[in-house]
């Protein structure tokens, strides 16, 4: 495929891997966090961590939008899905995220009309086609997906579609990063910045990472060569004792972001005073609700929800795993109370979470096959 294969060239990958090995000081252990779940996916898909020297470790960050939705919000979604006449729509990977008792997939099996969509516009189309039903879209994601939800709502308003509402779970990436960086026991050396989020918000919001916390961050694309190059750039910064925001993904990320998208977002959304993150607890000003101008499209206002906070079990140590303080297996509930079948924390919810990967692949995740 043109414009794709160029970024997946195995020989260039080997060359970058060699440069990374040369840039890493042998007596130092590097922990680099990839903030975005999209990066985690690429790292897994291409086996990128396998190309890194043993002393360069990747830590999966809080940027998997599905994993961070707390159980109480899933319960609210399920309650709405069970309302008579409702068609409940969401992205496919949201279907299996556990609430306190059930998943949306369970709700579907119990008779709720739950449908998977690839875009909020598909949900709006379903609303148009079913004027006698209430169509609800369960919106999730960071600044990457928020603009498409915003545009959909603008269109719904312009067309006067009254049977369409949205449960807004959109979150923002900077507050949880700041929360991680505030931690006194943080063990991270640098960050691979979330390229897709940056196409919307630009590079500037990440200046605080080098400025306030002394850690380098490189905004990265999602192809394997992008990620390897970003890791190299981080190691080069550390080696030269530089500390700044660098943009590896210049072909897509403009310095100032996408002003048009930001404008639409500020029209449709307003900041929530605080929001709960699975595994990380409450973080202030870390999520979006619908603005007052769009209140009529707010499913939380149209439908009764239990709105009960379901606390993460106390023993869950996802926060420590995310900060790189402990390994998955060092968590008190890992492998006993918390398993992929009955996940407690964010790191176990998605198959690509640090704990789930470690649980599924165990010792082979590290040894791997001697190919």
């Amino acid at each position: 495929m043109k414009y794709v294969d160029e970024y997946r060239d195995a020989q260039l990958g080997q060359a970058l891997a060699t440069q990374i090995a040369a840039a890493a000081q042998p007596d130092r252990h590097y922990k680099v966090m990839e903030v975005c779940g999209g990066h985690t996916h690429s790292i897994y898909k291409y086996g990128i961590d396998d190309l890194l020297p043993g002393n360069v470790e990747l830590v999966h960050g809080p940027g998997c939008p599905v994993c961070v939705i707390p159980m109480g919000r899933v319960d609210d979604g399920i309650a709405i899905a069970h309302q008579p006449g409702v068609i409940f729509t969401c992205f496919g990977d949201m279907l299996r995220v556990p609430g306190s008792e059930h998943t949306l997939l369970d709700a579907k099996a119990q008779g709720a009309d739950v449908r998977m969509v690839y875009s909020p516009l598909d949900a709006l189309r379903i609303a148009r086609e079913n004027p006698d039903r209430e169509v609800v879209f369960f919106a999730i994601g960071f600044e990457t997906t928020a603009p498409s939800t915003a545009l959909t709502l603008k269109r719904a308003k312009a067309e006067g579609i009254a049977n369409f509402t949205c449960v807004c779970n959109h979150v923002t990436i900077v507050p949880p990063l700041r929360a991680l960086l505030e931690s006194p026991d943080l063990r991270l050396d640098g960050f691979i910045g979330p390229g897709h989020v940056c196409t919307v918000v630009g590079a500037r919001p990440f200046q605080f990472i080098p400025a306030d916390y002394g850690r380098p961050i490189v905004i990265s694309g999602f192809e394997p060569l992008d990620i390897l190059q970003s890791i190299l750039m981080i190691l080069q910064q550390l080696g030269a004792e530089r500390c700044e925001v660098e943009n590896q993904y210049k072909r897509v990320v403009p310095e100032e972001g996408n002003l048009r998208a930001l404008e639409v977002m500020s029209e449709v959304f307003a900041l929530r005073p605080h929001f709960e993150w699975r595994g990380l607890g409450f973080i202030s000003q870390s999520a979006l609700r619908l603005s007052d101008a769009y209140a009529e499209f707010d499913a939380e206002q149209r439908f009764p929800t239990p709105n009960v906070r379901v606390a993460d079990p106390k023993a869950c140590q996802c926060g420590e795993v995310l900060k790189g303080v402990i390994k998955p297996w060092e968590c008190k509930v890992f492998g006993t109370a918390c398993t992929p079948e009955h996940a407690i924390g964010t790191c176990m919810v998605s198959p690509e979470g640090a704990c789930a990967a470690y649980y599924n692949f165990g010792r082979y995740a590290r040894e791997r096959a001697a190919v």
């Binding site: 495929m1 898909k45 291409y46 997939l105």
Partner: protein, 360 residues
Amino acid sequence: MTVTDREERVLQIIETARAKKARFRDKQITLAHGAGGKATQTLIEGLLVPAFGGETLAAMGDAGTVEIAGASVAMTSDSFVVSPLRFPGGSIGELAVNGTANDLAMAGARPRALTVSMILEEGLDASVLRDEVQAIADTARTAGVEIVGGDTKVVQRGLADGMYLCTTGIGAIDPRAQLSTGGIRPGDQIIVSGPIGEHGTAIMLARNQFDLDAEVESDTRCLWPAVDLLLDAVGAQLHCLRDATRGGVASVLNELARASGVSMVVREADVPVSPVVGAAAELLGIDPMYIANEGRLVAFVAPEATEAALAALRTVPGSEHAAAIGEARAEPPGMVMVQTAFGGRRVMDQLVGDPLPRIC
């Protein structure tokens, strides 16, 4: 206790838990139970096999075998609920014949006879039924199987989405065949009979959910001619066969790695995927290794027989692009690894969710 000891203990807890027999504890059936991945496995191993017992069933081949009057007979049954009923390259009627014939072929049996049960929905257009009956007849003729019986039931409107089909087939095990799910040995080469993921992709696009247009057709086809030539070419050096239907090639490899107590290593760059399927999978974020096929087999052959097996397969229409994609190894048992085209390595796990329900 040192840190390493603690890690080892945690790993042992997990491995003990995983080695335990699957138990079916789910409170209700979800679509995941039909997807061919982990939930399906729990349903079969945790509920069906313990309840029905028997060595043949426990071997979990595509078809069971019974001895009747001194002859080894393979027998199997399959249901078809695909939506839409017709799609580029095939229809439910073709799938119903080829699907069951292929399960027999994978046991090393020449498909001989089928019964066909139809569950029809009140209000079904008779022309739709006529077309499918014709498709069943034509496909059976091509496959060389006789339809010897059947059943028809009609259910109320809304209960069957047009029609469901169920076929049961039998055939005599070919004397050249020595196949078993536990028969894969370290060193065996993994062969696929052609480009993967075409059936699942064709269905996905036929549903028009994605606003994608592409020329891709289902690969539905009877695999006995391919098996026949493979047996001629390599005989007992062919250790195991599977058709990679629900859950795709990845699911077949995971199941068989467990059944044979071997690991598998797949070279991603050698796996044949057509550009159209590759592009659709890229856009939709699906790995072609998990997409269903209806006319692709995975063969495990002794290393010295690889070239002969490939040469034989490539003479069969539809298998011209057969390729060796990897090999079985001794360690670690039950695991499937991928050498990615990019040069890294990763584990290829069983399917957890269902990328696409009702594909066959």
